[in-house]
């Protein structure tokens, strides 16, 4: 048994033993669970995938004379300004009013992170205290006050494998799905993915310090649609999308390498977000969770050609099978393709490992655990309020 304080003391002294969630699998093979649990202090996990539910709060500072911005556009992308005078939220998936699907909120965020100034336009009705009714200027991260990512739903604990049984190509947030089971796409880092290594949210909770977009961030809350009640395998790992995290972090620290605007053809704009989460090896049980491998993690294959809330499924496959390049569905060999970047996720896990190894990143005990019970409610269409 180790405590957070003991692990942090070792980190401070530069003596912490850290492995990534991929490396730990071989460590366990060599040493066994008990010895590995004694020797290893931290396992780093990571993911780099498209996460639509992302965006940034910005505070632009006050002009003279000042304006209570009622409508805000950044490079022609609307930002939500229904909060205080010069605060706004730019959502990753918001589309440009002039360029449509080829430019969106994620591109604005990426431009800011790249150090560019973006065109800020705002209108207002004017008040006695905020007389200005219009403003147009250019602003970058160095010009404005706070700029922080606040992503309501990131780091999905597992996700669907998407296929298409119809006879036409369909264009989805899981990429282009070819007709007649022409391909299957999936989007997690598998054995390296954060919440698959802590399936019951024992160490990842509110307040957990993380790597976010190249800088330091925190778990702010449970993510939207957090679904711990999802069906689980005998090893405790959910077999479809389950837990989620709401993340927060200083945009000014972030790097374009780990925060990239993306376009899914005929679907829309989204953002690839790089997230790394350290898991303290408090005991052998925690070590066992982090040593899970792609063979033991299953995902459910859903038919995206059925545009319904509840899609028919073809059962489960393991990430080892998905990573092999093809799976078999109804006797047909279907080529598989990832959408999230394992290559980038590995980079993030290594960077976080390095930060911890040199003593510049310490671990935090959750101030509150994520809900272990909660259901995702559907939206019913009602004719009236009663």
């Amino acid at each position: 048994m180790k405590t957070y304080a003991e692990i942090n003391e070792k980190i401070k002294q530069g003596k912490a033993v850290v492995f990534t969630a991929e490396e730990i699998i071989d460590v366990v093979k060599e040493k066994g669970y008990a010895a590995a649990a004694r020797e290893v202090d931290v396992v780093t996990t990571a993911t780099f995938g498209p996460m639509c539910s992302s965006g940034a709060f910005l505070n632009f500072g006050h002009s003279d004379p000042p304006i209570r911005m009622a409508k805000v556009w950044l490079n022609d992308v609307p930002a939500y300004a229904g909060i205080a005078a010069v605060d706004a939220y730019i959502g990753a998936t918001e589309l440009s009013e002039t360029k449509g699907m080829s430019y969106g909120g994620a591109h604005v965020i990426e431009a800011l992170v790249r150090g560019e100034r973006v065109e800020l336009k705002a209108t207002s009705y004017g008040t006695d205290c905020y007389p200005r009714k219009e403003i147009r200027t250019f602003a970058g991260l160095n010009d404005i006050n706070q700029a922080y990512l606040f992503n309501p739903r990131n780091v999905y604990q597992n996700y669907s494998v998407a296929v298409n049984t119809s006879n036409r190509t369909i264009y989805t947030y899981m990429g282009a799905l070819l007709p007649n089971l022409g391909n299957a796409t999936y989007s997690t880092a598998g054995e390296l993915s954060p919440l698959l290594n802590d399936p019951y949210y024992r160490t990842i909770g509110i307040g957990t310090r993380i790597f976010l977009g190249g800088g330091t961030g925190y778990v702010a809350w449970e993510g939207t649609q957090h679904n711990p009640n999802q069906n689980r395998d005998i090893n405790g790992i959910p077999i479809a999308s389950a837990g989620t995290l709401a993340l927060i972090g200083d945009l000014k620290q972030m790097k374009r390498e780990f925060l990239r605007a993306a376009i899914f053809d005929r679907y829309g704009v989204t953002m690839y977000v790089g997230v790394g989460i350290p898991i303290p090896i408090l005991d052998e049980e925690m070590l066992k969770q982090t040593a899970v491998s792609n063979r033991d993690i299953k995902a459910t294959i859903f038919d995206y050609s059925v545009p319904k809330r509840s899609k028919p499924n073809f059962g489960q496959v393991s990430y080892a099978e998905l990573r092999s390049g093809a799976i078999t569905i109804n006797g047909k060999e279907v080529p598989t393709a990832p959408l999230s970047s394992l290559n980038q996720a590995r980079k993030i896990a290594q960077i976080l490992k390095e930060w911890i190894s040199v003593g510049q990143f310490s671990l935090t005990e959750p101030v509150q655990s994520l809900p272990a019970e909660s259901k995702v409610k559907p939206l019913e269409i009602r004719e009236q309020e009663v």
Binding site: G175, L177, L178, T185, A337, P338, L339, S341, Q344, R346
Partner: protein, 136 residues
């Protein structure tokens, strides 16, 4: 001797018609098939080099194909990938039939094998980073 490389796209109803036979028999052309993907009942693609005749014969052969409903394009195009901007997500591999684009262990980096590419351009739109282009 004239030579011409072309990409032939067959609509599903033509994939069972022996068009290349007519090119040989009626237009006296030599046909070197460079890449082919033909499945009866689906859209087919054939990249061929036509030679063995005078320029007019090749053009007449191409004209014949067009009249049959085949879409004919020159193979001067190629796919260009801006590797420095690639995040190695693998999205483009999902739509690459000839597997010219692949993402495999151990490093899970995107690999592009130009020789396998039939310039179908599916990857251009499938790339979430918009970093795959067609050159003319």
């Amino acid at each position: 001797m004239a030579k011409k490389k072309v990409v032939l796209t067959f609509p599903p109803e033509l994939t069972e018609t022996p068009l290349t036979y007519h090119l040989v028999k009626d237009f006296d052309l030599a046909i070197n098939i460079l890449k082919a993907k033909i499945t009866p009942g689906e859209e087919g693609k054939l990249v061929v080099e036509l030679s063995n005749g005078a320029e007019e014969k090749i053009l007449a052969g191409i004209d014949f194909l067009k009249k049959q409903g085949v879409f004919v394009e020159p193979v001067s195009k190629e796919i260009l990938l801006d590797e420095g901007e690639c995040i190695h997500c693998g999205s483009c591999t999902a739509v690459c039939h000839p597997k010219a684009l692949s993402i495999t262990p151990p490093d899970w980096k995107l690999n592009f094998d130009k020789d396998l590419c039939i310039v179908c351009e599916s990857c251009v739109k499938a790339c979430p980073m918009q970093i795959i282009k067609v050159s003319f």
